[in-house]
Protein backbone atom coordinates (compact mmCIF):
# COMPACT_ATOMS: atom_id res chain seq x y z
CA UNK A 1 0.00 0.00 0.00
CA UNK A 2 1.20 3.51 -0.74
CA UNK A 3 -0.33 4.93 2.48
CA UNK A 4 2.11 3.22 4.74
CA UNK A 5 4.85 5.89 4.67
CA UNK A 6 2.41 8.61 5.91
CA UNK A 7 0.81 6.46 8.59
CA UNK A 8 4.01 5.85 10.50
CA UNK A 9 4.68 9.44 11.66
CA UNK A 10 1.04 9.77 12.62
CA UNK A 11 1.19 6.77 14.93
CA UNK A 12 4.41 8.14 16.36
CA UNK A 13 2.77 11.50 17.07
CA UNK A 14 -0.20 9.85 18.76
CA UNK A 15 2.06 7.70 20.94
CA UNK A 16 4.05 10.77 21.97
CA UNK A 17 0.90 12.72 22.74
CA UNK A 18 -0.42 9.93 24.93
CA UNK A 19 2.83 9.89 26.88
CA UNK A 20 2.70 13.59 27.73
CA UNK A 21 1.36 14.42 31.18
CA UNK A 22 -1.37 16.80 30.00
CA UNK A 23 -2.99 14.12 28.01
CA UNK A 24 -4.05 12.11 31.08
CA UNK A 25 -7.60 13.26 30.41
CA UNK A 26 -9.11 9.94 31.36
CA UNK A 27 -8.73 10.86 35.05
CA UNK A 28 -11.80 10.14 37.08
CA UNK A 29 -12.10 11.70 40.51
CA UNK A 30 -13.69 9.37 43.02
CA UNK A 31 -11.56 9.03 46.17
CA UNK A 32 -12.97 11.61 48.55
CA UNK A 33 -10.45 13.09 50.98
CA UNK A 34 -12.43 13.77 54.14
CA UNK A 35 -9.69 15.80 55.81
CA UNK A 36 -9.64 18.24 52.90
CA UNK A 37 -13.37 18.56 52.62
CA UNK A 38 -15.82 20.70 54.56
CA UNK A 39 -19.52 21.43 54.72
CA UNK A 40 -20.50 24.66 56.45
CA UNK A 41 -23.71 26.62 56.80
CA UNK A 42 -24.73 30.19 57.51
CA UNK A 43 -28.01 31.87 58.40
CA UNK A 44 -29.37 35.09 59.79
CA UNK A 45 -30.51 35.41 63.39
CA UNK A 46 -32.16 38.78 64.05
CA UNK A 47 -29.98 40.39 61.42
CA UNK A 48 -26.82 38.70 62.66
CA UNK A 49 -25.01 36.24 60.40
CA UNK A 50 -24.36 33.00 62.23
CA UNK A 51 -22.33 30.11 60.91
CA UNK A 52 -21.46 26.56 61.74
CA UNK A 53 -20.27 23.31 60.26
CA UNK A 54 -20.81 19.60 60.08
CA UNK A 55 -17.81 17.66 61.33
CA UNK A 56 -18.71 14.31 59.77
CA UNK A 57 -20.04 13.43 56.37
CA UNK A 58 -19.32 10.87 53.70
CA UNK A 59 -19.37 11.38 49.95
CA UNK A 60 -19.27 8.98 47.05
CA UNK A 61 -18.63 10.59 43.75
CA UNK A 62 -17.34 9.93 40.34
CA UNK A 63 -16.44 12.77 38.05
CA UNK A 64 -14.61 12.80 34.77
CA UNK A 65 -14.05 16.33 33.46
CA UNK A 66 -14.25 14.91 29.95
CA UNK A 67 -17.68 13.47 30.58
CA UNK A 68 -19.35 15.62 33.23
CA UNK A 69 -22.82 14.50 32.24
CA UNK A 70 -21.91 11.00 33.44
CA UNK A 71 -20.89 12.28 36.86
CA UNK A 72 -22.75 11.41 40.00
CA UNK A 73 -22.43 12.09 43.69
CA UNK A 74 -24.05 11.11 46.93
CA UNK A 75 -23.31 13.05 50.09
CA UNK A 76 -24.46 11.89 53.52
CA UNK A 77 -24.17 14.36 56.34
CA UNK A 78 -24.11 13.10 59.93
CA UNK A 79 -26.45 15.61 61.53
CA UNK A 80 -25.30 14.74 65.06
CA UNK A 81 -21.88 16.11 64.12
CA UNK A 82 -23.24 19.65 63.82
CA UNK A 83 -21.21 22.44 65.36
CA UNK A 84 -23.34 25.55 65.80
CA UNK A 85 -20.80 27.26 68.01
CA UNK A 86 -22.44 26.55 71.36
CA UNK A 87 -23.13 23.30 73.18
CA UNK A 88 -26.60 24.51 74.10
CA UNK A 89 -27.55 25.05 70.46
CA UNK A 90 -25.95 21.77 69.34
CA UNK A 91 -28.19 20.00 71.82
CA UNK A 92 -31.23 22.04 70.85
CA UNK A 93 -31.03 21.33 67.11
CA UNK A 94 -30.81 17.58 67.70
CA UNK A 95 -34.30 17.75 69.20
CA UNK A 96 -37.66 16.86 67.65
CA UNK A 97 -38.58 20.33 66.42
CA UNK A 98 -35.26 20.78 64.61
CA UNK A 99 -33.48 17.80 62.96
CA UNK A 100 -34.92 15.09 65.20
CA UNK A 101 -31.53 13.44 64.91
CA UNK A 102 -32.43 10.17 66.69
CA UNK A 103 -35.13 9.48 64.07
CA UNK A 104 -33.37 11.09 61.08
CA UNK A 105 -29.61 10.88 61.68
CA UNK A 106 -28.46 11.83 58.19
CA UNK A 107 -29.16 14.37 55.50
CA UNK A 108 -28.58 13.07 51.99
CA UNK A 109 -27.94 14.77 48.69
CA UNK A 110 -28.06 12.61 45.57
CA UNK A 111 -27.39 13.88 42.08
CA UNK A 112 -29.78 13.10 39.27
CA UNK A 113 -27.99 14.94 36.48
CA UNK A 114 -24.90 17.06 36.03
CA UNK A 115 -24.56 19.80 33.46
CA UNK A 116 -21.38 21.59 32.36
CA UNK A 117 -21.77 25.38 32.16
CA UNK A 118 -18.28 26.02 30.84
CA UNK A 119 -15.31 27.68 32.49
CA UNK A 120 -15.05 24.92 35.14
CA UNK A 121 -18.57 25.60 36.32
CA UNK A 122 -21.14 22.87 36.68
CA UNK A 123 -24.66 22.42 37.85
CA UNK A 124 -25.75 19.33 39.72
CA UNK A 125 -29.48 18.75 39.89
CA UNK A 126 -30.50 16.31 42.54
CA UNK A 127 -32.55 15.51 45.55
CA UNK A 128 -31.94 16.66 49.08
CA UNK A 129 -33.51 14.63 51.88
CA UNK A 130 -33.60 15.95 55.42
CA UNK A 131 -35.89 14.82 58.22
CA UNK A 132 -37.77 12.49 55.87
CA UNK A 133 -38.60 15.27 53.43
CA UNK A 134 -37.20 15.31 49.91
CA UNK A 135 -36.80 18.39 47.73
CA UNK A 136 -35.37 18.90 44.27
CA UNK A 137 -32.38 21.19 44.40
CA UNK A 138 -29.91 22.55 41.88
CA UNK A 139 -26.41 22.90 43.25
CA UNK A 140 -23.88 24.99 41.34
CA UNK A 141 -20.26 23.94 41.75
CA UNK A 142 -16.85 24.68 40.36
CA UNK A 143 -14.21 22.06 39.75
CA UNK A 144 -10.50 22.75 40.05
CA UNK A 145 -7.83 20.16 39.42
CA UNK A 146 -4.96 20.54 41.87
CA UNK A 147 -2.35 18.01 40.91
CA UNK A 148 -3.72 14.60 41.64
CA UNK A 149 -6.69 15.99 43.52
CA UNK A 150 -9.82 17.67 42.26
CA UNK A 151 -11.68 20.21 44.36
CA UNK A 152 -15.42 20.78 44.09
CA UNK A 153 -16.67 23.97 45.63
CA UNK A 154 -20.06 25.56 45.69
CA UNK A 155 -22.92 26.96 47.68
CA UNK A 156 -26.66 26.91 47.55
CA UNK A 157 -29.54 28.08 49.67
CA UNK A 158 -32.13 25.86 51.23
CA UNK A 159 -35.23 26.95 53.08
CA UNK A 160 -35.38 25.29 56.47
CA UNK A 161 -39.18 25.53 56.36
CA UNK A 162 -39.23 23.11 53.39
CA UNK A 163 -37.75 20.43 55.62
CA UNK A 164 -39.56 21.30 58.87
CA UNK A 165 -36.21 22.22 60.45
CA UNK A 166 -37.39 24.34 63.37
CA UNK A 167 -41.03 23.67 64.11
CA UNK A 168 -43.37 24.90 66.81
CA UNK A 169 -41.94 27.98 68.52
CA UNK A 170 -39.22 28.22 65.86
CA UNK A 171 -41.58 27.93 62.87
CA UNK A 172 -41.70 31.70 62.39
CA UNK A 173 -38.72 33.20 60.65
CA UNK A 174 -38.49 36.45 62.64
CA UNK A 175 -35.69 35.24 64.92
CA UNK A 176 -34.05 32.48 62.86
CA UNK A 177 -34.35 33.17 59.12
CA UNK A 178 -35.78 30.65 56.66
CA UNK A 179 -32.84 30.79 54.24
CA UNK A 180 -29.81 28.72 55.13
CA UNK A 181 -26.71 28.97 52.93
CA UNK A 182 -24.89 25.69 52.54
CA UNK A 183 -21.29 25.86 51.43
CA UNK A 184 -19.15 22.90 50.56
CA UNK A 185 -15.65 22.01 49.52
CA UNK A 186 -15.09 18.40 48.58
CA UNK A 187 -11.67 17.13 47.58
CA UNK A 188 -11.38 13.88 45.65
CA UNK A 189 -8.32 12.18 44.28
CA UNK A 190 -8.20 10.82 40.78
CA UNK A 191 -8.37 7.05 40.59
CA UNK A 192 -7.65 4.65 37.75
Amino acid sequence: MTMKPTLKPMILALTLAAALPWSSHAAEYRQVQADQSAITFAYQQMGVTMDGKFNRFTAQLSFDPERPEAANATVDVDLASIDTGSAESDQEVAGKVWFNTPAFPTARFETRSVKALGDHRYEAAGQLTIKGKTQDVVVPATFTAQGKAGVFEGRFTLRRGDFAIGEGPWAKFDVVANDVQIQFRITANAGE
Binding site: M46, G47, V48, T49, M50, G85, S86, P169, V175
Partner: protein
Protein backbone atom coordinates in the same frame (compact mmCIF):
# COMPACT_ATOMS: atom_id res chain seq x y z
CA UNK B 1 -21.53 78.33 94.10
CA UNK B 2 -23.18 75.40 92.32
CA UNK B 3 -25.01 73.10 94.66
CA UNK B 4 -26.71 71.05 91.96
CA UNK B 5 -25.42 68.89 89.16
CA UNK B 6 -26.09 70.30 85.70
CA UNK B 7 -29.38 69.22 84.09
CA UNK B 8 -27.38 67.24 81.49
CA UNK B 9 -25.47 65.37 84.23
CA UNK B 10 -28.74 64.60 86.01
CA UNK B 11 -30.46 63.42 82.84
CA UNK B 12 -27.53 61.14 81.99
CA UNK B 13 -27.34 59.82 85.57
CA UNK B 14 -31.00 58.82 85.75
CA UNK B 15 -31.30 57.59 82.17
CA UNK B 16 -28.25 55.36 82.64
CA UNK B 17 -29.52 54.25 86.07
CA UNK B 18 -32.86 53.20 84.57
CA UNK B 19 -31.22 51.33 81.71
CA UNK B 20 -28.73 49.66 84.05
CA UNK B 21 -31.43 48.29 86.34
CA UNK B 22 -33.23 46.93 83.28
CA UNK B 23 -30.00 45.45 81.92
CA UNK B 24 -29.07 43.81 85.22
CA UNK B 25 -32.53 42.33 85.71
CA UNK B 26 -32.72 41.12 82.12
CA UNK B 27 -29.18 39.76 82.23
CA UNK B 28 -29.73 37.67 85.34
CA UNK B 29 -33.18 36.54 84.16
CA UNK B 30 -32.34 35.52 80.60
CA UNK B 31 -29.24 33.44 81.32
CA UNK B 32 -31.21 30.60 82.92
CA UNK B 33 -33.96 30.43 80.28
CA UNK B 34 -34.15 27.34 78.07
CA UNK B 35 -33.23 28.06 74.46
CA UNK B 36 -36.22 29.58 72.67
CA UNK B 37 -36.87 32.36 70.15
CA UNK B 38 -37.80 34.57 73.13
CA UNK B 39 -34.43 33.93 74.74
CA UNK B 40 -32.57 34.89 71.56
CA UNK B 41 -34.71 38.01 71.31
CA UNK B 42 -33.98 38.96 74.93
CA UNK B 43 -30.24 38.45 74.35
CA UNK B 44 -30.39 40.71 71.31
CA UNK B 45 -32.24 43.41 73.29
CA UNK B 46 -29.79 43.10 76.18
CA UNK B 47 -26.88 43.61 73.78
CA UNK B 48 -28.52 46.57 72.05
CA UNK B 49 -29.26 48.22 75.41
CA UNK B 50 -25.71 47.44 76.58
CA UNK B 51 -24.16 49.18 73.57
CA UNK B 52 -26.51 52.12 74.15
CA UNK B 53 -25.47 52.46 77.80
CA UNK B 54 -21.80 52.18 76.84
CA UNK B 55 -22.20 55.12 74.44
CA UNK B 56 -24.16 57.12 77.02
CA UNK B 57 -21.40 56.47 79.57
CA UNK B 58 -18.85 57.86 77.10
CA UNK B 59 -20.97 60.99 76.68
CA UNK B 60 -21.30 61.21 80.45
CA UNK B 61 -17.54 60.89 80.98
CA UNK B 62 -16.93 63.62 78.42
CA UNK B 63 -19.46 65.82 80.26
CA UNK B 64 -17.90 64.96 83.62
CA UNK B 65 -14.36 65.98 82.62
CA UNK B 66 -15.57 69.27 81.13
CA UNK B 67 -18.04 70.16 83.92
CA UNK B 68 -16.93 70.22 87.51
CA UNK B 69 -19.48 68.59 89.83
CA UNK B 70 -20.51 70.35 93.05
CA UNK B 71 -17.97 69.73 95.81
CA UNK B 72 -18.61 67.21 98.57
CA UNK B 73 -19.93 68.64 101.87
CA UNK B 74 -17.37 70.24 104.19
CA UNK B 75 -18.39 68.05 107.12
CA UNK B 76 -17.16 64.88 105.39
CA UNK B 77 -13.90 63.50 106.78
CA UNK B 78 -11.03 63.39 104.30
CA UNK B 79 -11.05 59.61 104.21
CA UNK B 80 -14.78 59.51 103.40
CA UNK B 81 -14.26 62.03 100.60
CA UNK B 82 -11.56 59.81 99.18
CA UNK B 83 -13.83 56.79 99.47
CA UNK B 84 -16.61 58.67 97.64
CA UNK B 85 -14.27 59.56 94.77
CA UNK B 86 -12.90 56.03 94.61
CA UNK B 87 -16.47 54.67 94.50
CA UNK B 88 -17.36 56.93 91.59
CA UNK B 89 -14.20 56.01 89.68
CA UNK B 90 -15.07 52.36 90.25
CA UNK B 91 -18.62 52.87 88.96
CA UNK B 92 -17.32 54.53 85.80
CA UNK B 93 -14.66 51.85 85.31
CA UNK B 94 -17.25 49.08 85.64
CA UNK B 95 -19.71 50.84 83.33
CA UNK B 96 -16.95 50.76 80.69
CA UNK B 97 -15.55 47.31 81.47
CA UNK B 98 -18.88 45.47 81.68
CA UNK B 99 -20.18 46.29 78.18
CA UNK B 100 -16.69 45.65 76.77
CA UNK B 101 -16.60 42.21 78.39
CA UNK B 102 -20.08 41.47 77.05
CA UNK B 103 -19.10 42.51 73.55
CA UNK B 104 -15.91 40.43 73.63
CA UNK B 105 -17.84 37.48 75.03
CA UNK B 106 -20.35 37.71 72.18
CA UNK B 107 -17.48 37.86 69.68
CA UNK B 108 -15.74 34.83 71.13
CA UNK B 109 -19.00 32.89 71.23
CA UNK B 110 -19.61 33.69 67.57
CA UNK B 111 -22.69 35.88 68.14
CA UNK B 112 -21.86 39.19 66.55
CA UNK B 113 -23.53 42.25 68.03
CA UNK B 114 -25.59 44.13 65.47
CA UNK B 115 -26.88 47.29 67.16
CA UNK B 116 -30.67 47.38 66.82
CA UNK B 117 -30.27 44.76 64.12
CA UNK B 118 -28.85 47.43 61.82
CA UNK B 119 -25.32 48.48 62.75
CA UNK B 120 -22.82 45.62 62.99
CA UNK B 121 -20.23 46.09 65.72
CA UNK B 122 -16.99 44.49 64.52
CA UNK B 123 -15.92 41.27 66.19
CA UNK B 124 -12.53 41.82 67.83
CA UNK B 125 -12.10 38.16 68.67
CA UNK B 126 -12.36 35.02 66.61
CA UNK B 127 -14.79 32.31 67.59
CA UNK B 128 -13.26 30.40 70.49
CA UNK B 129 -15.35 28.34 72.88
CA UNK B 130 -12.92 28.37 75.84
CA UNK B 131 -12.31 32.10 75.56
CA UNK B 132 -16.07 32.65 75.26
CA UNK B 133 -16.71 30.72 78.46
CA UNK B 134 -13.92 32.59 80.23
CA UNK B 135 -15.34 35.96 79.14
CA UNK B 136 -18.78 34.86 80.29
CA UNK B 137 -17.32 34.32 83.77
CA UNK B 138 -15.61 37.72 83.55
CA UNK B 139 -18.87 39.41 82.48
CA UNK B 140 -20.79 37.74 85.32
CA UNK B 141 -18.12 38.49 87.96
CA UNK B 142 -17.87 42.14 86.95
CA UNK B 143 -21.64 42.43 87.19
CA UNK B 144 -21.77 40.85 90.65
CA UNK B 145 -19.04 43.28 91.73
CA UNK B 146 -21.02 46.11 90.11
CA UNK B 147 -24.12 45.17 92.10
CA UNK B 148 -22.06 45.36 95.31
CA UNK B 149 -20.66 48.79 94.37
CA UNK B 150 -24.17 49.96 93.40
CA UNK B 151 -25.52 48.92 96.79
CA UNK B 152 -22.70 50.96 98.35
CA UNK B 153 -23.54 53.91 96.06
CA UNK B 154 -27.26 53.86 96.88
CA UNK B 155 -26.59 53.19 100.56
CA UNK B 156 -24.21 56.13 100.75
CA UNK B 157 -26.70 58.45 99.04
CA UNK B 158 -29.43 57.41 101.48
CA UNK B 159 -27.08 57.82 104.46
CA UNK B 160 -26.24 61.36 103.31
CA UNK B 161 -29.92 62.16 103.01
CA UNK B 162 -31.39 60.56 106.10
CA UNK B 163 -28.52 60.47 108.57
CA UNK B 164 -26.15 63.30 107.61
CA UNK B 165 -29.12 65.33 106.31
CA UNK B 166 -27.00 67.03 103.68
CA UNK B 167 -27.74 67.76 100.00
CA UNK B 168 -25.65 65.00 98.44
CA UNK B 169 -28.72 63.09 97.26
CA UNK B 170 -31.02 65.99 96.48
CA UNK B 171 -28.55 67.75 94.23
CA UNK B 172 -28.83 64.86 91.80
CA UNK B 173 -32.64 65.08 91.85
CA UNK B 174 -34.68 67.26 89.52
CA UNK B 175 -34.45 70.85 90.76
CA UNK B 176 -37.98 71.49 92.01
CA UNK B 177 -37.27 74.49 94.19
CA UNK B 178 -34.04 75.94 92.92
CA UNK B 179 -33.10 78.75 95.23
CA UNK B 180 -31.47 81.80 93.63
Amino acid sequence: MTTHYTPVAKALHWLIALLLFGLLALGFYMQDLPLSPQKLQLYAWHKWAGVTVFLLVLVRLAWRVTHRPPPLPEHMPRVMQLAAHAGHVLLYALMIAIPLSGWLMSSAKGFQTVWFGVLPIPDLLDKNRELGDLLQTVHLSLNLFFVVVLIGHIGAALKHHFIDRDDVLTRMLPARNLEP
